[in-house]
C-alpha cells in the first residue's frame, strides 16, 4: 500500500498524539471509536501527527493524510471459531430504558445500516390490558439452541464457541430459511444492492463475518454482538451508545457484566436480585440476552396508542416499481 512509502518509521515517540492501539497484527493504527486511523493519500496540511503500530513502532505523517479505517478482520476460520473461553451475555434493564433509541442509532452508525433497518429495535410492549406499557430493546438473542442455524443448508450462519451467532455473507445463498425460522424477527435480507453512500464510506475493506460489512445483495444479516469491537476489548456499539446505562454486556464465564457507565456487576447477582428473565422462554431457544423486568420505571410510561404498525419512511428507489 502507498502509505507504507510515505510513512517512514520514526524513533521519536511523541506521546501527545497517540492513543491506545488495538490488538492488530499489521497496520498503522490510532484507535478512536470503533475505527482505527492510517495515513493514506497525497494531500498534506503540513501538520504532523505520530501513530503507534501494534508492533511498537511509531510512524509520523501528515495530519491531512490521516483517515479512519476498520482494523483488519480476523480470518474466516477464526471468525467461525470465536473467542476462546468466553460466553458472551447481555442484560437489558427495562426499568431504566426510556425508549430514546440511541442504541439503535449507535448500531446503525457502526454497521452503516439504512435508517429503516434496525438490527436492534426498540419495541413498545404491553403484556396485558391492565398493564402499563414499557420499552423493549431487542437485539439478536444469540440463542444457545438457535432455530436459525439449524435450518441453514450451507452452514452460512453458525454458532460460535463464545455463544455468538454470526452470518457469513460470502457463503449465504439467500434462501431465507433462517428468517422463517427465527421466532424473534431478528434477521434482515439485503433485497437490493447496498446503499451507494455506505459502500463509499466503507471503501475497499475486507469482509469478515465479525464486522458484517460490507453487506452484499441477496444475503441475510443481523445483529452480531460486535465481535470486532470485543476483540479490541471494547463494548458493542449499542452498549456504549446507551445514555441510560440500560444495556450490560459481559462474559458469563467471568460472571461479570458492564454497562456504558463502566459499572461492572456480578451477572448472577444482577439476575437474581432483579428477577431477570429471558423473552419467550417457553420456545426453548435459550437466548443469551436477559431482561430485567420494567419495575419502578424511571421514565414516563410510553403511549401505546402512538405506536404505529407502519412507519412512513422514504421508499428505496426499487420499491417504486412494485405498485401493482
Amino acid at each position: 500500500m502507498s502509505e507504507d512509502k510515505i510513512n517512514e518509521p520514526n524513533k521519536n515517540s511523541g506521546r501527545r498524539n497517540f492513543l491506545k492501539f488495538g490488538a492488530l497484527a499489521t497496520g498503522l493504527t490510532l484507535v478512536g471509536g470503533g475505527l482505527q486511523k492510517v495515513f493514506s493519500g497525497e494531500k498534506g496540511t503540513g501538520e504532523k501527527v505520530r501513530l503507534l503500530s501494534p508492533d511498537g513502532k511509531v510512524y509520523e505523517g501528515d495530519k491531512g493524510n490521516l483517515c479512519e479505517v476498520r482494523p483488519l478482520p480476523v480470518s474466516n476460520e477464526e471468525a467461525r471459531k470465536g473467542i476462546p473461553n468466553k460466553k458472551f451475555v447481555m442484560v437489558i434493564d427495562l426499568a431504566k430504558c426510556d425508549g430514546c433509541k440511541k442504541c439503535t442509532e449507535a448500531c446503525q452508525a457502526m454497521h452503516y445500516t439504512e435508517s429503516d433497518r434496525e438490527w436492534l429495535k426498540v419495541f413498545t410492549m404491553k403484556e396485558a390490558e391492565a398493564d402499563a406499557p414499557y420499552y423493549f430493546p431487542k437485539p439478536c438473542f444469540h440463542c444457545d439452541n438457535p432455530p436459525c442455524t439449524k435450518v441453514c443448508p450451507v452452514n452460512a450462519t453458525f454458532k460460535r464457541q463464545d455463544g455468538i451467532v454470526l452470518i457469513d455473507n460470502e457463503r449465504c445463498i439467500g434462501c431465507r430459511s433462517c428468517m422463517a425460522a427465527c421466532p424473534y424477527s431478528t434477521r434482515f435480507f439485503n433485497w437490493s444492492h447496498p446503499d451507494q453512500k455506505q459502500t463509499a464510506a466503507l471503501g475497499n475493506i475486507k469482509y469478515s463475518p465479525e464486522q458484517s460489512v460490507p453487506r452484499r445483495m441477496g444475503t441475510v444479516e443481523k445483529c452480531d454482538f460486535c465481535p470486532d469491537m470485543i476483540r479490541q476489548g471494547k463494548m458493542p456499539a449499542c452498549v456504549s451508545g446507551c445514555p441510560m446505562n440500560v444495556i450490560y454486556f459481559g462474559d458469563q464465564n467471568e460472571d461479570a457484566v458492564t454497562n456504558a457507565a463502566g459499572v461492572t456487576v456480578k451477572l448472577s447477582k444482577l439476575l437474581s436480585d432483579n428477577a431477570g428473565y429471558r423473552h419467550l422462554e417457553e420456545l426453548g431457544t435459550e437466548p443469551r440476552v436477559y431482561y430485567l423486568p420494567p419495575k419502578n420505571r424511571k421514565y414516563p410510561v410510553p403511549d401505546m396508542d402512538k405506536v404505529d404498525r407502519v412507519k412512513n419512511t422514504k421508499k428505496p428507489t426499487e420499491m417504486v416499481m412494485d405498485n401493482m
Binding site: V151, I173, F189, R309, V310, K311, D322
Partner: protein, 484 residues
Amino acid sequence: MANEKFDLKKEIEMVREDCLRPTRTFSRTTQVWIACLLIVIGWGLYCYIHQLRHGLGVTAMRDYVSWGLYISTFVFFIGISHSGTLVSAILRITKQEWRRPITRSAELLTFVSLLFGGIQPIIDLGRPDRIGNLVIFGRIQSPLMWDVISICTYFAGSTVFLFLPMIPDMALCRDSLTVTDTRYKRFKKWLYKFMAIGWKGTKSQWHRLEKTMNIMTIVIIPVAVSVHTVVSYIFAMTLRPGWNSTVFGPYFVVGALYSGSAGVILGMAAFRKLYHLEKYITPKHFDLMGRIVLALTMIYAYLNLNEYWIPAYKMATAEGHLLTDLFSGSYSSAFWTCQFGTVLLPIVIMAFPKGRSIGMLSITCIIIVCGAWVKRYLIVVPTLLHPFMPIQEVPGSWSSYFPNYVEFSVTAAALAGIFLVITLFSKLFPMMAVWEVEEGIEIEHDKQLAIELKEQRIAEDAKAKLLEKANGEIKPKVLISEKI
C-alpha cells in the same frame, strides 16, 4: 356383447393410428398456442433477469413476508406432481385395468410439474450464483437439504417411471415412421431410435421391462410421500404459529394428492378433446377418477379440520392472532372461499353421479386446482405476517404483502413452461401408452372369448338337459359338473 364381432388385429391397428396421429400433425392452432406460451415465457425470463440484476427487492417481498408467491407456487407445483404416482403407481399395483389410457399423461404431469416446481426455490434464492454451496458446504441437518435430496430423487425416479413404459412405444414410432428427406422427420427418426434403446420386443426384453416396472412402481410411492412430507418440514420445523404443527406432513401429502389427481382429470379432459381420444378415455374413467378425488377431498377436509379446529379451540396467544386474521380478518374471505368453495363444495358435487360427468367434474377440478394454489399462499403468507414480536414502525411495504408484477410474470412463465413441455411432448410422443392399451384390448379380447366359450357351454348344457328331460332320464348332478 357376444354378438359383436371382435377383430383384434383391426382394433390394435386403430389404437396405433389414434395414438400416433397427433404426433404427425402440427396444426396452425398448435403453432399459435406455442407462440403465445413463448411470449409469456419470454416476458417471465425478462422479469427474472431484472430480478437477478436488481435483487429480490423488485418483488413485493420484504423482511416480514420473506417468502411469498414463489414458495407458495413451489409447494403447489410439487403437490400437482403427486398425481403421476397416485394414478400410475397405485393403480398399477392394484392392477386396475381402467388405468391404461391415463397413465402416460399422469406420469408426464408429474415429470413436468416437478421440473418447474423444483426451480421455484432457485428463482426465490437471493444468490442463485452460489447454488454450488449446497454441494460444497451442504448440511444434512437442514430441511431445505432434505428437500433438495428428495426432490432430486423423485425427479430422477419419475423420469425413469415416465421413460420405461415409453420404450416399446418409441420402437413403435421408430418402425412406423417413414423416412422422408425433411430434416424434421430425420430428427424424429433419430430421436425415436435413440429413445427406443434397441427395443425389439423379444420375450426377454418384455420380461425385463415388466420386472423393472414392478420395482419402480413400488419404489416411487414412498419417495413421493417423502417429497411432500419434507416440503412441509420447511415450514413445520420452525416455531412459527401456523407452521408449528405436527399434522403438516400428512396434511401436505393429502393436499398434494387431492390437487394432483384433480390435475390429472383436467389433463385427461384436455387430451380427450384435443386429440379425439373419446373412445379410450370414457365417462367411466372420469367417474372412477372422480371417486378417487372425492375420497381424497374428504381426507383433506378431515385434515383441514385438525389443522384449524384444534388450535382454534384453544386460541393460544400467537396462534390465536393468526387464526383471528384467517377467520375474521384480512384473509377471511380468501380462507373461507378456500374451505367451503374448494373443499366442501367439490365433495357435495362429486358425491352425485352427475357431478362426476365429464363436464361437471372438469369444472370441479379447475376449482380444486385453483383452490389448492390459493391455499398454499394462505399457508405461507399469513403466518409470516404474524410473528411473535409485534410489527411496529416498519416501512409500509414490510407489513403487508401482495405479489407484484415481477412475481406474477415469473410464475406465469413457469406455468407456461409446464404447458409448453406438455404440448411439445404430445407432438412428439403418443399421449397414451400404446402397448398398455393394446395389452388391455388383448385382455378384453380374451375375456370376450371366454364369455363366448361360456355361453356356448351354457347353451350346450341346456340342450343336453332338454334332451335328458325328453328322454326321461335324470343323471346325477356330479356328472354334469364334471363335464363342465
